[in-house]
């Protein structure tokens, strides 16, 4: 069943399109911040006033080099990669409902919780593979930026691998959250709109709460985007483990809900 679900994802154009958009989004984001911005700042043709307003990344700093390896782009932002990866999962969840494939799946595997399990495994595989592609691209973008800047690599190999590994993990979790939402809502337009609304409203909501209360309640820190960025930017192994645990719990909760709903649903 895992093989069948993986085949389903690799034989529909939307998966390839989502991965392509994520890859192009990441490349564009990283190259703009590490190549285009420094070029504009240093260019003689740029108005000095404008140049002074542009953000400057000090590529000699290890922290800035690691920031380039953030697979979701800037800290806490809603980037193209985040949206593409979540939509990858959402579309993986709804495509079977949209075209009636869920009936054939249920006829081959009447125990529907196993269908959700297989879909989870397949989406995790595709999500992780997408994360690895994005990791390779971000390393390429970093090396290109360093060469153009004439700067040496100052981040250590464990730091680089840790950042990339946490990025791949975050991408995998986000695709699974998308899958659960797709399975729960079934309708493509509804699922996409709900997911986009959650992603767009999340930082706004958090900003309002922080402004109003001066702090963030625990539940506000358990939103998918916040957790994914917390995982990638985790300063210590302990905070990384806590973010992983929270993302695992959130994903498991949503997927369990999806499995229970599918089990009771008439097909």
């Amino acid at each position: 069943m895992l093989r069948a679900e993986t085949l389903k994802l690799t034989t529909i154009p939307v998966t390839k399109i989502a991965v392509l958009i994520a890859a192009l989004g990441l490349l564009a984001t990283q190259l703009i911040s590490t190549v285009l911005m420094p070029y504009l700042v240093n260019s003689e043709t740029t108005d000095p006033e404008v140049a002074s307003e542009l953000p400057v990344i000090d590529m000699t700093l290890a922290s800035e080099q690691l920031a380039v390896l953030n697979l979701l782009g800037g800290s806490g932002s809603i980037g193209v990669v985040l949206i593409a990866v979540i939509l990858l999962g959402v579309l993986a969840g709804i495509s079977d409902f949209r075209f009636g494939g869920m009936v054939g799946t249920a006829l081959a595997q009447p125990r529907r919780e196993r269908i959700v399990l297989a879909k989870t495994g397949a989406t995790a595989l595709i999500g992780a593979a997408t994360g690895l592609i994005l990791a390779a691209l971000s390393v390429t973008a970093l090396l290109l930026a360093l060469v153009l800047d004439g700067t040496a690599l100052s981040a250590t190999l464990p730091e680089i691998l840790g950042t990339l590994g946490r990025g791949v993990l975050a991408i995998t979790f986000l695709s699974l959250i998308g899958l659960a939402v797709g399975l729960l809502l079934r309708n493509q337009l509804t699922a996409v709109l709900v997911m986009l609304a959650v992603l767009v409203l999340e930082p706004i909501l958090l900003g309002i709460i922080q402004l109003a209360t001066g702090t963030l309640p625990i539940w506000a820190q358990l939103m998918p985007n916040t957790l994914a960025h917390a995982l990638i930017n985790a300063p210590t192994a302990l905070t990384g483990a806590a973010a992983t645990g929270a993302l695992t719990a959130l994903t498991a909760l949503l997927l369990t809900g999806a499995a229970l709903t599918l089990k009771r649903r008439s097909l």
Binding site: L107, A108, P110, S266
Partner: protein, 253 residues
């Protein structure tokens, strides 16, 4: 009853309501080994709901539907027991027929060689790598039939399988189903085309308003209606439906 005598398909007192409206009420029938059973009835009669309950896709409010004595969900290897064609077969327009069948094969643990076999059986080998969005309705139906027979099942459950098939396709399907039953297989066939059912069915289950109006052999049905299955069918389905049609026709005049 010994193990050998267990009916391939047994439907007992099935009932189902949706939002308080009774769609299927106390439906019972059997499909024997080596028999083709035609499930006949007007639109909305409850045929599809009955088939879906039989296949574990809809939970009944009451009654049982058993496949070789077991609920469908308890079958350990369902695609080798039951092959089904429902709706448009759940075909993703962006996939090719070969991709669709390879996925179905992976779901049922069937080999890639079997995919090529069923493509040959349904006559789609030459077009197997075209996207399904470019297929005619009849070709899509052939893909759905190919998926149903992938596991070389003992039972076929087909909901309007002739939809979209051209005359040659319908002829092929009837020959295939007859041969399937003659080799001991069981077929439950829902159809609106009485002439086709008359040519291949052994048994008839007429259903209307969610209730079985008649479950008999084709021979008995024909004997009871001077050899006219249409007469038999119309006499069995709800008289209220015919009256409603007549009222509509009268009003239109």
């Amino acid at each position: 009853m010994t193990k050998q005598e267990i009916e391939p398909l047994l439907v007992e007192h099935l009932s189902k309501s949706f939002r308080g409206v009774r769609r299927v009420e106390d439906v019972s029938f059997t499909v024997g080994a080596g028999r083709i059973t035609g499930l006949l009835g007007p639109n909305g009669a409850g045929k599809t709901t009955t088939i879906r309950m039989l296949l574990g896709l809809i939970a009944p409010d009451a009654g049982n539907a058993l496949v070789f004595g077991k609920p469908f969900r308890d079958l350990s290897d369902p695609t080798r027991v039951v092959g089904a064609v429902l709706d448009a077969g759940g075909l993703h327009p962006g996939r090719t027929a070969r991709q669709h069948l390879r996925i179905a094969a992976a779901q049922g643990h069937h080999t890639a060689a079997r995919v090529e076999e069923v493509l040959t059986i349904v006559g789609l080998s030459a077009d197997a790598d075209r996207r399904i969005r470019d297929y005619s309705l009849g070709m899509r139906q052939r893909v759905a039939i190919a998926a149903a027979i992938l596991g070389d099942p003992k039972i076929l459950v087909l909901d309007e399988p002739a939809n979209g098939l051209d005359p040659a396709g319908i002829y092929w399907l009837k020959k295939y189903l007859r041969s399937f039953a003659d080799h001991g297989g069981s077929v439950l066939l829902s159809s609106h085309i009485l002439a086709d059912v008359e040519q291949i069915a052994d048994d008839i289950v007429a259903i209307a308003d969610g209730q079985v109006r008649s479950a008999t052999t084709l021979a008995e049905a024909l004997a009871a209606s001077e050899g006219d299955l249409e007469d038999f069918y119309l006499s069995m389905i709800s008289s209220s439906e015919i009256s409603s049609f007549e009222r509509t026709t009268h009003a239109a005049r």
